[in-house]
């Protein structure tokens, strides 16, 4: 079996294994082992990929596997990866691995929890390896729907409301995507002949511009909903606030990236002219996202809300960068996805661990936690610093790449938007430090908290993996950046058709 298919098969096997587990402990270990293997596989894939590239294999996609599925509709099971997807797979496996350990203490319906979680992850993996729009969409929806149960059953607060809202809004997005995809399919061969769902094939045809302009908003907004595009982001704060730890991690960490990746791989790549002509609307929206999310986070009192708004801001940056139409900015967009993915997963993991101890997420009710739980405190500070774009962590690499890239556009509009976007780094610092100040530092507000314990081994493992991820990228970004920009080549080629690219 080819290596990419294994990324779907392993979760499935894990799920089946979990079904046959007898008690909680076995379930947890089964999940951990399964996802551990997945992580190793991802590492192997990255190495293998880099070796192939170094060996001079310049094919657009590597490890391609093509099986005809529905011959008449020309639907294929077509998988393959370039540097971008490899990076996203790496991200996913890290986050899901950490997520399993972060949810070590799920007691209620453990089996169901882990099955749903892994089902979600298999959807994500499938999404990232798909080169066929149909399977891509299939996996996309597959990744979205377990969220309902995960939030609804294991969530907290107004979980039912949030779960419903999240699911409906995301499915609303996918409704738009579906229209867009159908449009793409039926225009995938303007000269007549076999229509195709294959991204690679569609990228080689020229779709008439007015058709592109009709479908681009569907696709971009559709994926944008998941990428928390203003004003379709409101599922995010509620959803994250109610979701259990691992789900928030996975959702903010990986699932939201599906949106960015989709915007990038489908909307912009396949409809370049439209993206070029209509881009300004979405640049305005994403610029608003960036600033607005940051300001929104400043006022919040619930840890998860803060992080959710911060995600809006950071993910807004991803979409913003994608629309900048140049290699550097797009490189930055992908880096930002990975960086934000790990970072926000770390945050949510920590928030979950803190919540598990203090039973509140309101920062005003906590304080001085650094003293009682130094490990978690330090990890939180690291996460915070990474989030505000401190050098040495991945966030800096990503943001700087985006800013420098975005600023390479000659026209004033793009550059003004960039400067507005850049200014978010200050607001980010404000809310991050505010949280750290109130939550971790200062005096302990509640004497019950004096007796709380610091992180357990599985929590240390979970956070450790994620911190390793952000620092590894932050300290040595070049290989990743090169890997990604290798994948960007064809996309830039295609964008060149649409207009000037710098």
């Amino acid at each position: 079996m080819d290596i990419l298919t294994l990324f779907i098969v392993i979760p499935v096997i894990t799920m089946i294994g979990i079904v046959f587990c007898k008690d909680h402990k076995q379930v947890k270990w089964a999940a951990a082992i399964g996802m551990g293997i997945q992580l190793l596989m991802a590492a192997y894939l990255i190495i293998h990929f880099l070796m192939e590239r170094n060996a001079g294999n310049t094919a657009e996609m590597l490890f391609v596997k093509d099986v005809v599925w529905f011959p008449s509709l020309n639907i294929h099971y077509l998988v393959g990866v370039d540097g971008i997807s490899v990076a996203m797979i790496g991200l996913t496996s890290i986050v899901i691995f950490a997520g399993v350990f972060a949810s070590w203490e799920v007691e209620e319906l453990t089996k169901e929890f882990f099955i749903s979680l892994i089902l979600l992850s298999s959807g994500v993996f499938g999404f990232f390896i798909s080169l066929d729009l149909f399977t891509l969409f299939l996996f996309y929806e597959l990744a979205v729907i377990p969220m309902y149960l995960l939030i609804g059953i294991w969530g907290s607060g107004p979980r039912e409301y949030s779960a419903m809202k999240l699911t409906l809004m995301l499915m609303g997005g996918s409704a738009l995507i579906m229209v867009g995809l159908l449009g793409l399919y039926f225009h995938s061969n303007p000269s007549g002949g076999q229509l195709t769902w294959s991204i690679l094939d569609i990228s080689k045809v020229h779709i008439p511009v007015d058709v592109q302009k009709f479908f681009f908003p569907f696709l971009f907004v559709g994926f944008g909903v998941l990428g928390a595009l203003f004003p379709f982001h409101t599922w995010s704060p509620d959803g994250h606030a109610s979701a259990p730890t691992a789900v928030s991690m996975l959702h903010a960490g990986v699932l939201m990236k599906l949106g960015g990746y989709g915007c990038f791989r489908v909307a912009v790549f396949l409809l370049p002219e439209a993206a070029h002509e209509l881009g300004w609307i979405f640049i305005i929206l994403t610029t608003i996202s960036v600033i607005y999310g940051a300001f929104g986070a400043v006022w919040q009192k619930d840890l998860k809300y803060i992080n959710a708004y911060s995600s809006v801001s950071h993910c807004g940056m991803v979409l913003f960068a994608i629309l900048m139409f140049n290699k550097t900015a797009m490189d930055g967009a992908i880096l930002q996805m990975i960086s934000h993915g790990i970072m926000t997963a770390l945050f949510f993991a920590l928030i979950g661990m803190i919540y598990g101890r203090t039973h509140t997420r309101y920062i005003n009710e906590m304080g001085g936690l650094m003293k009682v739980m130094p490990f978690l405190g330090v990890a939180y500070v690291i996460g915070g610093l990474a989030s505000l774009g401190l050098p040495g962590f991945s966030g800096f690499v990503a943001e700087m790449t985006i800013f420098v890239g975005a600023f390479q556009n000659v026209d004033t509009f793009h550059r003004v938007a960039t400067i507005i976007g850049v200014s978010s780094i200050v607001v980010t610092a404000v809310y991050i430090l505010r949280v750290i100040g109130i939550l971790l530092l200062g005096k302990i507000k509640n004497e019950h908290y004096e007796h709380l314990t610091d992180a357990k081994w599985h929590e240390r493992l979970s956070t450790g993996v994620l911190i390793f991820g952000i620092t590894a990228i932050g300290l040595a970004p070049l290989w990743l950046s090169e890997m990604i920009s290798g994948g960007l080549g064809p996309i830039i080629q295609r964008l060149l058709l649409a207009g000037p690219v710098h």
Partner: protein, 469 residues
Amino acid sequence: MLIMRHELLLIAITVILLLIEIFLPHDKKHKIILPAILLMALVTAAGFIPGPTGVLFGGMYGTSALILLMKNILNIGVLIVFIQSVSWLKLDDQKEKISEFFILLLSTLIGMDYMISSGDFLMFYLGLELATIPIATLAAFERYKEKSAEAGVKLIFMSALSSGILLYGLSMIYGTTGTVYFPEVAATFQSTPLQILAFIFFFAGMAFKISLVPFHLWAADVYEGAPINVTSYLSVISKGAAVFIFTIILYTVFAKIALMWRDVIYVIAILTMTMGNLFAMRQRNIKRFLAFSSIAQAGFILLGIIGQSQLGMTTVIYFVLIYIFSNLGAFGVATIISNKTGKESIDDYDGFYRTNPMLSLTMMLALFSLAGIPPIAGFFGKFFLFAAAAKQGLYILVLIAVLNTIVSLYYYLLIIKAMFLNRSDQPIGYFKSDGYTRLGLAICIAGILIIGFASPVYEFILKLSYGIY
């Protein structure tokens, strides 16, 4: 003989069951269940044996590989309904009427088969009536229940009215073309005002069967009042058969005025999806809920019909096939709950997962399939339907449809929420379902899980639908 084998086999087993019924002693009526199911299974299996196709009775009756497939699909559905209704039939109230239930169901199935195979409007009309009138008696089957009687009244009167209107339309079709045979009608039918009127009246009669808005109002009440197995039969088999013949007639007989009927369906599709969803949202009775849900589903089916092409035909059949499994799955669970506890309200489903996980999972799968969630079959069915409409360039319609699927997802999730999320002080207790129920549900689950992935099924249908339009 062999060309008409579906109908003849069904008539044969109907007669056999009648004979068995006559010779069964009064207190052993339930013994007929097993032979009935076995015979039906036999017929279903026999339906798949390839045989000749062709035209009989001077064009009144015709069959093709595609029509055989439709009949097979209906057979499967009826078989599942048979299996699912066992637990209900064994209840005291129904004990005396078990064989009649089977006979009546079979006779309606015969009617549907004739309807699908009809080559002229007379046979079509007779098949339609044969498929409707006995169901009215089935709806009123639980004759000690007021609701059941009310359902019977509503069904028989509305169906009579609709067939009156349909007949008026048919009379005008006859009057303007001089014939009731499909090919001749197709050759001369045009869109003069009188013919538009005739078509609309005919359409209204069909729309009644498929329960399209605004001809759907009977459906919810009848579904709620009728015994739950009859409801499932009505919402799945009866609707499926009507969809089949409707599609065939539109594609063949009214091919010339396709530009017009497509616009009619455009309007009706939007109305049906939206109204079905809006009403389904607020239902608390599971049967009524499923009634409106199936109205909305009918609206989606129209999208396949409107994509007037080989693709459209295929997707319609494919969707109906999936719909049969999904809806019967949902009804199967509702049936067993209703029969074991008498509870039919969604509010009673709170916390159901914690007491009966397997049934809840089945229900969830079925509902997700109805909602079109991957990777189960419903997703494929719905996606292809929309693809058929998109092929005609009707993207706005597709958009409205997909937005409607969101609303539908909302209310399907409400049930899932009740079962999985809500906690209840007095959940429905654990119960063990009998073998028949399990078998029925297992078939449904298998169908839901496999049909989507199994592209050969789709390709097979596609191959058969070549040239039908």
